[in-house]
C-alpha cells in the first residue's frame, strides 16, 4: 500500500495548484486533483516497464483522456484538468539533477540526466498531442455533420 502513497501526495499537490491557478468551483478542483492522482497511479502501475519514457507516455495518455472526458461531462475546457493533472508528471527532478551535475562539472551525468529529462518532456507532450489530435478530429467531424444537416 505504501508505494501508492505518492498518489495521495500528488492529489494534494494538485489541490495546491488548483488554488495557485485560481480554480473556484469545488467540483472542478476535485476532478482535476483526481486526474493528477490517476496519472501517477498509472505511472506506478507500469512500474515493471524498463523505459521511463514509455511509462510517462502511457500515464499522459490516461491523463489527457480523463481530462477530455471530464471536460465533456462538466462542459468546461479540457485545459483546466490537463494543466493540473499533468503537473505530477513534469520531470522537475530530472531538471534539478541535470543542473546539479552541471554545477559539479560532471558532464557525463549532466548529458544523461538532461537527455532523460528532455525525452520525458517529449513523451508527455506526445501523449497530450495524440489524444488532443484524435479528439479534435472526431469533434470536427461531428460538427461538420451537424452543419451539413442544417445546410441540407
Amino acid at each position: 500500500m505504501e508505494q501508492y502513497l505518492p498518489c495521495l501526495y500528488a492529489f494534494l499537490a494538485c489541490a495546491g495548484f488548483s488554488i495557485v491557478f485560481e480554480i473556484k468551483k469545488p467540483v472542478l478542483i476535485l476532478l482535476s486533483c483526481v486526474t493528477g492522482a490517476v496519472g501517477w497511479l498509472v505511472y506506478l502501475l507500469f512500474g515493471n516497464m524498463e523505459s521511463e519514457v514509455v511509462r510517462y507516455f502511457l500515464a499522459t495518455i490516461v491523463v489527457a483522456l480523463l481530462s477530455e472526458v471530464f471536460a465533456r461531462i462538466m462542459k468546461a475546457p479540457a485545459t483546466i484538468f490537463l494543466i493540473i493533472g499533468i503537473v505530477p508528471l513534469v520531470p522537475g527532478g530530472g531538471l534539478y539533477y541535470a543542473m546539479d551535475a552541471l554545477i559539479n562539472a560532471d558532464y557525463v551525468s549532466f548529458g544523461q540526466k538532461g537527455i532523460e529529462t528532455a525525452a520525458c518532456a517529449g513523451a508527455i507532450a506526445a501523449g497530450v498531442s495524440v489524444v488532443t489530435s484524435i479528439v479534435r478530429m472526431v469533434a470536427s467531424r461531428r460538427t461538420d455533420k451537424i452543419k451539413t444537416e442544417h445546410d441540407g
Binding site: 499537490a13 495546491g16 488548483s18 485560481e22 480554480i23 468546461a76 475546457p77 498531442s129
Partner: protein, 258 residues
C-alpha cells in the same frame, strides 16, 4: 449605421480574445472561438490571426474592411476566468445576444475576484510541501518546503508588480528558495534532504505546462506560436538553472563543499 454594429462586434471579439490569452487559453482555441463568434453574428468573411502576444481580426462586410489588433503584454493562468470566458463564448455563439449585454457579461468575468492573498500563499506552500513528500522527502522537509513555496509566491507576486522580466523573476525566485535549505544545512541541520526540498519547491516554477503546449502547437501546425513559447520555456529553464547554481556556487566558494 451598420458599420457601427460591425465595429462593436469587432471590439467585443477582440476583447474576449485578449482576455482568453491573458488567462492562459491555448492560441488555437482563441482563433477558433473568435471565428465562431464572428460567424454567429453573421460575419462569415472574417479572418482571425492570434499569436501569444497579439491578435489581429479582420471582417469584410458590405463594401468595407474592418480590422483591429490587440497587443497582449503578459499572460497568467487563471482557470476560473478561463472557464467562464469559455462559457461566455458558447453562450454568445448559441444565443447571439446584443453586444452590450455580452460586453457587460465579459466585464463581470474580468472583474471576478481572485483568491485572497493568504490563501494564495497557502496554495504555493502546499504545492511545494506535497511535492517534497511526493519526491521522497519526510515531514520536516515538507515543512521547510512549505516555507520555500511561500517565498516563491512572495517573489513572483512582488516582482511581477514591478514589471520585472520573466528571466529575472525566475532567477530570483529559484535563488531564494534554494538559499533556504542550503543555509540550513550549513547551520548544522544536516538531516534535511536538500534535493527533495528544492525539487518539490521548484515544481512551482518549472515550465511544464508551457512545454506540453509547445509540442501541441507544433503538432497542430501553429509554428509561430510554438517558437515564441519555446523561447519562453528555454529562458525560464535557464533562469531556474542559474538560480540554483548561484547559492550552491557561493556556498562552495565561501564555505567549502557540502
Amino acid at each position: 449605421m451598420h458599420s457601427k454594429k460591425v465595429e462593436q462586434c469587432l471590439n467585443f471579439c477582440c476583447e474576449v480574445s485578449r482576455q482568453l490569452i491573458r488567462n492562459g487559453a491555448e492560441i488555437y482555441r482563441v482563433e477558433e472561438s473568435a471565428n465562431r463568434m464572428l460567424a454567429a453574428y453573421g460575419y462569415k468573411e472574417a479572418e482571425v490571426f492570434a499569436v501569444p502576444s497579439c491578435v489581429i481580426m479582420s471582417i469584410h462586410y458590405g463594401e468595407r474592411n474592418y480590422t483591429k489588433s490587440v497587443r497582449i503584454k503578459s499572460a497568467t493562468n487563471n482557470l476560473d476566468k478561463l472557464d467562464r470566458l469559455n462559457a461566455l463564448c458558447r453562450d454568445v455563439c448559441r444565443e447571439t445576444p446584443e453586444i452590450d449585454v455580452a460586453l457587460s457579461e465579459l466585464k463581470a468575468i474580468v472583474g471576478r475576484p481572485v483568491y485572497p492573498v493568504w490563501l494564495s500563499y497557502f496554495g504555493y506552500g502546499c504545492v511545494a510541501a506535497f511535492f517534497t513528500l511526493f519526491w521522497g522527502g519526510n515531514a520536516l522537509d515538507a515543512a521547510i518546503a512549505f516555507f520555500c513555496g511561500m517565498i516563491v509566491k512572495a517573489v513572483v507576486g512582488h516582482m511581477v508588480r514591478l514589471n520585472a522580466n520573466v528571466f529575472f523573476v525566475n532567477v530570483c525566485a529559484s535563488m531564494l528558495l534554494v538559499m533556504v535549505p542550503v543555509v540550513l544545512t550549513y547551520m548544522g541541520c544536516t538531516m534535511i534532504h536538500t534535493d527533495q526540498i528544492i525539487i518539490g519547491s521548484i515544481m512551482l516554477l518549472v515550465p511544464g505546462i508551457a512545454i506540453t503546449n509547445v509540442m501541441r502547437d507544433v503538432i497542430i501546425g501553429d509554428f509561430v506560436t510554438a517558437l515564441s513559447k519555446l523561447a519562453e520555456v528555454l529562458i525560464v529553464a535557464l533562469a531556474i538553472a542559474v538560480g540554483i547554481a548561484i547559492p550552491f556556487g557561493l556556498a562552495r566558494a565561501l564555505l567549502g563543499g557540502i
